[in-house]
């Protein structure tokens, strides 16, 4: 079997990303790596730059400077090679409201070039308890149901890299727990890499291997949940989050955010 050097490279790599909107610097020299097969959380308060960073990593937003690399390749130069292996879920980016769940999944399945699409939709619908909703227009779904459809769409192409913005927002505790288990099982089965922005610290502690903490457009700390708990002397990730967001705990890492992950 030929040696594939790309397998040694991180699944996701941000290199000195900067994004300015006029006078406002939304992302300020962010560098990080996400290792293959890990689930990593991107945390930070509102306006910390998480969504901007995710948007750059997905190619929706062009950085002012710096580079986004996915699966070892530059997103700018190899977009068409990368995007079929990537997907994205967010409760804040809608699917077409007038189409039924099945129609939306069929359209997106075709966009990703999925083979055996009909069976795939049935299987995902079963996994996410959408069987009875397949013929219902998206606009008639509850917020929780829409989140499950967004997850189904995100998994339609069996992505190697999955970006998620608050994957369990709007789900009741039972469904949220089920969705987390599903994501973990998917990751374990496929070896996929998941980068997720979340405000749910319980979720982060439970399923994430690594955490990237953002504040004011910079990576200010990172590590596994266990490492961060130990470093801040806290019992929960929520307390760690508050320490960092409110700058109650000045950590040396914060002085060199651009080096995060290096």
């Amino acid at each position: 079997m030929a040696y594939d050097s790309s397998m040694q490279q991180p699944a996701i790599e941000a290199i000195k990303l900067v994004k300015r909107f006029g006078e406002v610097t939304a992302v300020d020299g962010v560098s990080f790596t996400v290792r293959r097969g890990s689930i990593t959380a991107l945390l930070g308060g509102n306006g910390a730059g998480k969504t901007t960073t995710l948007s750059i990593m997905l190619g929706l937003l062009l950085p002012t400077s710096g580079e986004a690399r996915i699966l070892g390749e530059s997103l700018v130069h190899y977009r068409q090679r990368i995007l079929p292996r990537v997907n994205f879920s967010s409760p804040y980016v809608d699917l077409p409201q007038r189409l039924t769940v099945r129609q939306n999944l069929r359209v997106y399945g075709m966009l990703y070039g999925v083979r055996g699409l009909g069976e795939k939709i049935v299987r995902l619908a079963h996994d996410l308890e959408l069987d009875d909703l397949l013929e219902r227009p998206h606009r008639e779904l509850s917020a929780g149901q829409k989140t499950r459809v967004a997850l189904a769409k995100a998994l339609i192409n069996d992505p190697d890299v999955l970006f998620m913005d608050e994957p369990t927002a709007s789900l009741d505790p039972d469904m949220a727990d089920y969705a987390r288990s599903l994501l973990q099982a998917y990751q374990a089965r496929t070896g996929a890499t998941i980068l997720m922005a979340s405000h749910n610290m319980t979720e982060v502690e439970r399923i994430c291997d690594d955490v990237l903490m953002m504040r004011r457009g910079r990576i200010v700390d990172q590590g596994s949940p266990r490492e961060l708990l130990a470093r801040y002397g806290r019992k929960t990730m929520e307390e760690v989050f508050l320490d960092i967001a409110r700058e109650r705990h000045a950590h040396p890492f914060g002085q060199s955010g651009a080096e995060a992950g290096s």
Partner: protein
């Protein structure tokens, strides 16, 4: 056919399916396709009936006004077809999902113009059949030049539609109304119902920069003089090549600007 082309074709097919679902699921959208051309055609048809006995110019060719209406509607429908399907994505706030998929902007453009072609064909054929029914005038009597007229007007409509889409991408939904009104700004100057020569001299210069002016002049040449003016068709084709290139470039530049400004995520707000 290589894998890249097949992949592209499948993504275009996916977008056509998406727009097909949209039209199929909404009867007002289907009704809208034939409503306005039918109203226009009837208005100008009755006007023609009156003028045929009161105007020597119209009496030369009774179909000249109805043909003008039907051909003008091709231009309007083709522009609107592109712009409306584009705006559907804005209303649905769907651009973020679409462009994290492998869909290329140019593939989206191809799907938009294809849907526009299908919508315009439905609209045009429907109104043309009603013209035969009500006024015993068949625009198909124009013969094969009708094909040239049709595609020249289609392409010009696409070009303007893409430029309008670019404006919306650049300036947000505040520019949405351009989709409805942009084409009407050209109507007085392009000689739909009267010869370009009847315009004031400075406006004639402007009219000659519009591919549609040559189409309408060509239409009158067929109906009144019974000649096919290939020189007019050639001018229309040449201008349309320029229009389509400029329209596509304007759209792609605006799309890139939208990626710089974050409009793909925040559009609709």
């Amino acid at each position: 056919m290589n894998a890249a082309v097949l992949g592209s074709a499948e993504r275009v097919a996916a977008m056509l399916l998406r727009y097909g679902y949209l039209l199929r699921g909404s009867w007002p959208r289907l009704l809208e396709l034939v409503y306005w051309p039918t109203v226009q055609m009837m208005l100008w048809g009755f006007m023609t009936n009156f003028l045929v006995t009161n105007s020597t110019w119209v009496a030369q060719a009774a179909g000249v006004l109805i043909s003008g209406v039907l051909l003008w509607d091709i231009l309007y429908r083709s522009q609107l077809g592109v712009a409306m399907m584009f705006l559907e994505e804005m209303y649905a706030r769907n651009l973020g999902q679409l462009f994290v998929s492998p869909l290329r902007p140019l593939e989206w453009v191809i799907s938009l113009v294809t849907v526009s072609l299908l919508r315009t064909l439905i609209s045009f054929v429907g109104a043309s059949l009603l013209a035969i029914l009500f006024y015993h005038f068949s625009i198909f009597s124009l013969g094969f030049p009708l094909i040239f007229f049709f595609f020249n007007l289609m392409v010009m409509g696409w070009a303007i539609g893409l430029a309008v889409c670019g404006l919306v991408l650049r300036y947000g939904m505040g520019a949405e109304s351009m989709a409805w009104v942009a084409i009407f700004a050209l109507a007085p100057f392009t000689g739909i119902y009267y010869p370009i020569g009847s315009l004031p001299a400075p406006l004639q210069v402007f009219a000659h920069l519009l591919p549609s002016s040559y189409v309408f002049e060509g239409m009158r040449a067929v109906l009144i003089q019974h000649v096919v003016r290939y020189d007019l068709l050639r001018n229309a084709v040449a201008l349309n090549v320029v229009y389509m290139v400029l329209g596509t470039i304007a759209f792609l530049i605006a799309f890139r600007a939208a990626r710089v400004r974050g409009m793909l995520i925040h559009v609709g707000e």
